[in-house]
Symmetry: C2
Subunit: 311 residues, 2 copies
């Protein structure tokens, strides 16, 4: 359970904290982790609601189906685990029970097939007017591969996979009616960094890892808080084709944000590129201060960047 | 994933069947089952939508919170497993983000505390107008304790725990404005048969088991189909305080429906009563015919009983 959404999430963690955990780790990361012996099982869940997370007029049913699964697989991969299965619940109003639901399932199936993820359970029901979708993704990894937000060390290199800001630039394009720009297509066809997350999970030099769903300006705060570190981020180093505001505060990139032991960054980046074809870019350093500082060419700069909020 | 709700569920099972299962059993029971070595993990999910599954005017927020968890714990217990954890997703319109959501969480917490179930993850988000809730329940048991709908054998005694029909009688009372009859209170305060399910799971004489969510007239068909057996059910034997239609086609009883090796029924029933205080009543026999026959004092009778449908 991410702590970003409602203020009462904090109260929930306090309320339920004293209950027996039965081998599960406490709430706080992309996924919950269950100790299975040599392996760990990770689980995450995400709810998508029509007219909050998607519009039937702007996204095809196939795209919504694909994205519903991919955003959850992204959370699993960000733990360093391989996604293996999903559970899907869907509430459909009458006007979505035919063509729309079939398109949705095609998109969901394509993403499942592409990533080798089984559909192992779920629920379908009616709703009065709007579509609600809930997906649970389950992953598995050797226990020591699991990457937590709390594992960053001061002096680590902060890195990101791929390029940032494309998805939020695409969302703006779509809002202006440009549905077929490269960025708009990227936004509509969500892609989780599964091969990269699984590969990075197996590298002990990688310390903390999470996926970028709300923009690094907001997401880095979770690593800072749970690891007790600060962060200096160099704006000019952030890999993007668009405005820096998209790249820092734009949501839904589903790239990975991670910290790597400084001396190992060059070899990890080179080996990741070779293994997956994906670039790993250094954008800053974790520090001993508790502060987040934005740097421009090595000098702290006074910008106010906030993360993306869904509502 | 239960097969009752939409016709396209069958298509989904066919579509996803060929994908690798990664140790999960195929769709078809109350819960999906993951082999963990000596133990099995079971998982189930259920979505509740405002104005389809509950009305804010008829149920308190606490009752909805409690019921959201209990209906899922019932599915776990019906597999013979002990519920250990849950994941909760909730989409809240603005007018439910204060008092209602806090009442909901109190009810959810009370049910969690009472049953020793941890809350290990979830998602909270906004919705435009109606509340959507999705709960995942996770259980664990020694692998050989897991009870499946497919395990009934011809000649088994068909049994149910407790009494049937109370919840649907209560729903009718509520619809007529009688919110405080014994049946109405029973309907509003859902109670899963957790101690009973876990206890019955450990008895090898118990063959098939499931929970009664749609009424035995509909639920017995799942055991018949998956086990390849028929069933003779004696109407006069069905334990109920109300009309036989409530007891056979009324939903949401959350009692257990099971089949037991005939020679072992008396000892199992006696031991269950001693261990949990709950009565196990024999209501019929599985047969080699594929048919469901309703009997009145041992003679087939011509009634047309259908299960409860949520919409």
């Amino acid at each position: 359970m991410k702590k970003s959404e409602f203020s009462f999430i904090g109260d929930i963690a306090t309320m339920f904290g004293p209950l027996a955990h039965h081998g599960f780790e406490p709430i706080g990361d992309d996924c919950t982790v269950l100790d299975m012996g040599d392996d760990a099982l990770v689980m995450t869940t995400d709810m998508l609601v029509e007219d909050v997370h998607f519009l039937r007029s702007a996204s095809s049913a196939e795209e919504v189906g694909r994205k519903s699964l991919m955003v959850n697989l992204s959370d699993v991969a960000a733990m360093g685990a391989r996604p293996i299965a999903s559970l899907l619940s869907i509430a459909l109003p009458e006007d979505a029970q035919g063509q729309w639901s079939e398109g949705f399932m095609r998109g969901y199936y394509e993403a499942s097939h592409e990533t080798g993820v089984a559909l192992v359970g779920g629920d379908t029901t009616a709703s009065r007017d709007r579509i609600s979708i809930n997906v649970v993704a389950i992953g598995r990894a050797p226990k020591h591969n699991i990457k937590r937000r709390s594992a960053a060390e001061a002096g680590d290199v902060i890195c990101v996979t791929g390029k940032l800001g494309t998805s939020s630039k695409g969302l703006v394009d779509i809002m202006f009616g440009d549905l077929n720009t490269a960025a708009a297509r990227h936004h509509r066809v969500a892609q989780a960094r599964i091969a990269e997350g699984t590969w990075l999970g197996a590298r002990p030099e990688v310390h903390a890892m999470m996926d970028i769903s709300d923009g690094i300006a907001s997401d880095i705060l979770h690593i800072m808080e749970l690891s007790g570190v600060g962060a200096d981020i160099e704006l000019s180093a952030i890999p993007t084709d668009y405005d820096i505001r998209f790249a820092t505060t734009g949501g839904e990139d589903y790239e990975l944000l991670l910290t790597v032991a400084a001396e190992s960054y060059p070899t990890v980046a080179e080996a990741l590129l070779k293994a997956t074809g994906t670039t790993l870019t250094a954008i800053g350093r974790t520090t001993q201060s508790g502060e987040l500082r934005w740097m421009q060419d090595g000098t702290p700069t006074d910008v106010d960047l906030k993360g993306f909020t869904h509502f």
